[in-house]
Subunit: 459 residues, 2 copies
């Protein structure tokens, strides 16, 4: 039996490692009888006790068996290791994250280079200095009270949400929030949820996985077609009232009222996805739909656009009747969201740093949008930029005679720019349109990205 | 119409707030016609424009409607707010967290007062200084590569896990990990999972919610009865091999081998819950079962005992065939776990602070266990402390003639001590036994808690 003992580690642990390795790579097959501890000790120049202890450890771990009269053998269950196939190693390369292209104007992400790292560390330090010991244990599944109280004040002040800290559920990101809602609706007998025909397909998948069927609501220049809700027999509807994604329109006042009336008349639930409600540039933001009817509208907010998606913090403001079943599902999902980030965000909000960051980003995005609109007006006068002055994306509509969406995406890629089009979000128009996320690049790369976009769109 | 305008805010926003409040509390009923902007401006001594703008904002938000010829009215959808009932406010008081009693020896939590706050803040700062911008976006759903690499090295070194970073899935706590596994097993046709008859009932509930039936495996002094696995027709088995919770025994070498052989023979999956594998006091810890057969054993580890549950970080080391379906479920659950904590933990591990913290806690818990055992030997010589010298709990068996488990729990409560018994974890013995978590109290309270326990158990 050949064993390679590394000289660095202790003798006993070196011997254990060598024996495990020999079993793993198949040199010692299951059933093989090992030398007696006395014999092996002599061979290796070790104390017999060292070998006996190593054998004992490996017996306890199940690598070896020791039976009276049959000596020490390699256990029948020990199997040689199989190498990991490269397919797994390569299956998740920067998924959803990066692009191999130098410039990125795909929507859905804020400028990650602006994440307030220093303020976040400072808030973490402050939170750590204050938090009671119990905060690090299993606490309220709704989330830390410090954060729920801060959010209630913030959402009421900034978004007109009627938020009681008791009715806020902190979630590990928007995907979790929507999945938990889907499960609760399904558990209460719900079968179908209406979603905007234009949007991220992931949301639909998550809702279906949670047990609901989905029906698409057409989207026009007034937002989702609430009028057609009555016909689809939905138990709930998911809307982006402040800023439809990706079309960029706001839900019209009449449809806001109609959505709430639908909920009231049918007992249905309206879910308001307020993903970028803080970012409006031409006027005061339209307040949350939830404020109109908190008994039937679920408000869903997130730090993914205001801070960064990696923080994975989102929140639901719930009608009272949904709180308990949501908490039950939350406990099954992950018991409670991680506390340190919650405490840090509460510090940021209460101390004013969150408002300052949002204001700073608002002027930055507004400036980028202005530059984008004026650059395209000069360099690609044929296209039309649509969508309200809000958020961090615009739709670039393509006039007759222009190359199609797909051709332009390819042309942009050849110029080093990643950009997507309406088809990716359910758009069915023949020409298509580009969806341009001007929030995505770091500041220093925005000019070059915009230049590439103009070049791709030049007539 | 009586409106209370607060003088602090801007006039327009003050008017908006006053109007919303009036609708909310029912003073302005749906359908009510408002004064013209000119009339209201005169009444309130405001510029007409201010009133018109406020009306416009509230129309956009759906509070009011404005139609040619019919003036401005309160929208039909706007509903008065209902106050939150106190039942919701009171439904989740310190759930699972606290006790109203001064001393707490319930198991399941480490000493939260020892959470390394300073080291955590320092690790967060270091992580923030290093992290690429992309880390704050949507990244690999398996978790940050920095953490997966750190864990692979750590788990291999400390727990004998054969861990490839590509096959590690970082989860938002153990409950999520086990729920995702349950879903994947069910999705692949699995119907039944065997679990140890003694344990947390929450785990069973989560597995059932994920779509599996559960069957109890008896637990004796050699751990779970693997021999009975063949009879129950399970597709998977969930075990605590290093330290059964709550009985405190280790799975015997024969049963370790038998578990792996069962998996190999039936295609079943063994899930190894290694919740406190770092804490063994009388000998080197028994290595992970996963090391024996990584193709069929899922290793589940967590920071809940080594650091704190509130961090909500756990990890699965997966057989290759389970990685892709698990990632799919993870994406539906919360897309990826929050990044800042992941990066901080990676820093702690790579920089050695994690090992130092575990060592420090190991000697602290060992000392507490020694004090507990020796105090009971003197003060309550009739009882028998069982379970290997590991983790942060012991079982206190009650001899004939002693009060029952329930009576002792009551007696302890009267002495100010919270403690639980075997019945809470599925124990069926007539006498019962106490399950004492000596890790729970802060250091300064341990002596008093132990004193209370001795008093409760005194003959």
């Amino acid at each position: 039996m050949h064993l390679e003992l590394s000289s660095g580690a202790g003798l006993r642990s070196g011997l254990e490692t060598a024996l495990r390795d020999a079993v793993r790579d198949g040199r010692l097959a299951p059933g093989t009888r090992l030398p007696s501890s006395r014999a092996l000790a002599r061979d290796l120049g070790l104390a017999r006790n060292t070998v006996a202890e190593a054998y004992g450890q490996l017996v306890a771990e199940g690598w070896l068996t020791a039976r009276q009269g049959s000596g020490t053998r390699v256990a029948p269950g020990a199997r040689p290791q199989q190498p990991v196939s490269t397919s797994v190693a390569l299956a998740f390369p920067d998924q959803a994250a990066g692009t191999h292209l130098p410039y990125d104007l795909r929507p859905g992400k804020p400028d990650l280079s602006s994440f307030p790292r220093t303020a976040w560390v400072a808030a973490t330090r402050q939170a750590m200095a204050k938090a009671p010991h119990d905060a690090f244990g299993y606490t309220d599944p709704r989330g830390r009270v410090e954060l729920r109280e801060a959010l209630a004040e913030y959402l009421s002040r900034v978004r007109g949400v009627r938020a009681n800290p008791d009715l806020i559920l902190v979630c590990t990101g928007y995907v979790q929030a929507i999945g938990l809602l889907g499960r609760v609706l399904a558990e209460r007998g719900g079968q179908r949820i209406a979603v905007e025909a234009l949007g991220f397909s992931d949301t639909r998948t998550v809702l279906r996985e949670s047990g609901l069927a989905t029906t698409d609501l057409p989207v026009d220049e007034y937002g989702a077609d609430i009028g057609s809700l009555a016909d689809v027999g939905a138990d709930a509807v998911l809307l982006t009232p402040a800023h439809q994604f990706p079309s960029g329109v706001a839900l019209s006042p009449e449809r806001r009222t109609a959505a709430v009336e639908w909920a009231h008349a049918t007992g249905g639930v309206v879910i308001e996805d307020d993903y970028d409600g803080e970012f409006r540039y031409d006027r005061q933001p339209v307040g949350a739909l939830q404020g109109l009817d908190p008994a039937n509208v679920v408000y869903a907010g997130t730090a993914s656009k205001s801070l960064a998606p990696g923080i994975r913090l989102a929140w639901l403001v719930l009608p009272e009747r949904l709180m308990e079943p949501l908490v039950r599902q939350k406990r099954f999902a992950d018991r409670q969201s991680p506390v340190v980030d919650q405490l840090a965000l509460a510090e940021l909000i209460v101390g004013g740093a969150y408002d300052r960051h949002v204001r700073r980003m608002r002027s930055r995005y507004r400036l980028r949008r202005d530059r984008l609109v004026s650059a395209l007006a000069t360099r690609a006068p044929g296209v039309r930029v649509s969508g309200i002055a809000a958020g961090m994306h615009v739709v670039v509509e393509l006039p007759d005679g222009y190359p199609s969406e797909g051709e332009l995406i390819e042309r942009a890629a050849r110029l080093g720019l990643a950009v997507t089009g309406m088809h990716m979000y359910g758009g069915t128009g023949e020409r298509g349109a580009l969806v341009v996320g001007y929030g995505t690049p770091p500041d220093h790369a925005f000019s070059a990205a915009l230049e590439a976009l103009c070049a791709a769109l030049a007539p």
